[in-house]
């Protein structure tokens, strides 16, 4: 099994631990990743705040590269990237004039037909039976609050994934591997995403609410599939505790960290030792 792979800037920057985790976990499942050649940034929040055409053209360039290389299915583990790719793809697929214009702008023909997958969808493609078969350890010590944040399920017309108000795909997979996910209220609330640097107070307030709700519902860790969620809940946890006089001590794992643990991979191979809050 092979997927094209669009890492995005975060996974090649300070969220390199996410890339380690995804690569180690998928390799252990016999899944190969083929990185998109000379990919460029998807434009993220900045492009759609400042320039609509750029917000289409930047992700479109990557869709065009995938199309040129004959790649039909591409994993984008960062939900911000995957949403920008999906949004551009849908706009292009439905508008011939836009396709022509954007193809000229990005210097390659682009039709928007590449299928973009998030990390959970890749695990679904692999299939729970195959993952269970490869598992060597039960996750029964883990009571995760599965946190989807904004962009994995929203807007539903664009991402067409899970239920946008009550998603359950992470819980379903982790339960099969022995974990005991908790029921809680903040599955799809926002952590502040890309405001980390521009306006930290927003992130601290939102993330404090998420961590508090997870803790009060009996979670002993949080599971995410987004580099921004991970940074805001993990790296900023000390700042949240300081600002709100809280005592959060919740490790924040990527979904691939927990699946990797079930497969018997150690924390160093998964990059878990690079997180800020470690298990006590």
């Amino acid at each position: 099994m092979e997927f094209a792979y669009y890492p995005g800037c975060a996974l090649h920057g300070s969220s390199g631990d996410y890339e380690m985790s995804v690569r180690a976990c998928l390799a252990a499942l016999g899944v190969a990743l083929r990185e998109l050649d000379d990919w460029i940034c998807c434009g993220a929040t900045a492009a759609h705040c400042l320039n609509q055409k750029l917000a289409v053209a930047l992700p479109a360039r990557n869709l065009a590269l995938a199309q040129r290389d004959g790649l039909d299915e591409m994993l984008a583990p960062c939900p911000m990237c995957s949403m920008e790719l999906l949004k551009a793809g849908a706009l292009l697929a439905g508008d011939a004039a836009l396709r022509d214009e954007i193809s000229q702008i990005v210097e390659l023909p682009v039709s928007g037909g590449t299928q973009i997958l998030n990390l959970i969808q890749v695990f679904q493609r692999i299939g729970t039976p195959r993952i269970k078969q490869a598992a060597t350890r039960s996750l029964d010590a883990f009571q995760p609050a599965c946190y989807y944040g904004c962009l994995l399920t929203r807007p539903p017309e664009t991402v067409r994934f899970d239920d946008c108000e009550h998603p359950s795909s992470m819980e379903t997979l982790l339960r099969e591997l022995g974990a005991r996910p908790v029921a809680w209220n903040y599955q799809t609330e926002c952590c502040g995403a890309g405001m980390t640097i521009a306006h930290e107070a927003t992130v601290l307030e939102l993330s404090h609410k998420i961590l508090s709700n997870a803790q009060s519902h009996g979670a002993n860790c949080v599971v995410v599939a987004c580099p921004m969620c991970q940074v805001n809940l993990d790296l900023k946890q000390a700042a949240i505790n300081a600002r709100y006089g809280a005592d959060h001590a919740l490790p924040v794992y990527y979904l691939s960290d927990l699946v990797g643990k079930a497969l018997g991979l150690d924390e160093r191979a998964l990059g878990v030792d690079r997180h800020f809050v470690v298990k006590h």
Partner: protein, 162 residues
């Protein structure tokens, strides 16, 4: 948010665009898509907020309280224009310097500096991250979208109506 999304949409519908462009809310919005998803009338509220942000920049109408956020978004875009991908250190450096000359706020200038050694210890700090090979195509894409060099320097981004 000083104004909630449904009210912003109401202002736009009733032609009070200038009022909407000055709202802090359009820059406090984290683009979480909740309003778009839950709108009972299927209005793409987050899309409208994006359009308001773009207009606010073009018309230089944004609330002065929000200049830091705008500076960050511009520095982010300029970083992509130069490198094809985000280089975090360069982005944070450019943003902090410009923001500092805007409000001379020393604690904010230094706030994230303490994070660098912690990221280094965890192998998550990169002095130089890879840039794309074909940076020419990235610059041409920006040009064709009406964004020229220095758009990150605080000047308004020209309208993209070519």
């Amino acid at each position: 948010m000083d104004v909630l999304p449904h009210r912003l949409i109401g202002w736009v519908q009733s032609g009070r665009i200038d009022k909407a462009l000055r709202a802090d809310a359009i820059w406090q919005c984290v683009s979480c898509m909740t309003c778009t998803t839950r709108c009972p009338k299927s209005v793409d509220c987050a899309g409208v907020i994006d359009a308001l942000r773009q207009l606010a920049i073009q018309r230089d109408a944004a609330s002065p309280q929000q200049h830091r956020t705008i500076l960050f978004q511009r520095a982010f875009l300029e970083n992509i224009r130069r490198n094809g991908r985000v280089r975090e250190l360069e982005l944070i450096g450019a943003f902090k310097t410009r923001a500092f000359f805007g409000d001379l706020n020393i604690p904010l200038l230094l706030k994230d500096a303490l994070l660098a050694p912690q990221l280094m210890r965890r192998g998550r700090f990169h002095w130089f991250s890879a840039r794309v090979k074909d940076r020419g195509v990235v610059r041409r894409i920006f040009q064709r979208c009406g964004v020229s060099a220095g758009a990150g320097n605080g000047r308004p981004v020209p309208p993209a109506d070519n």
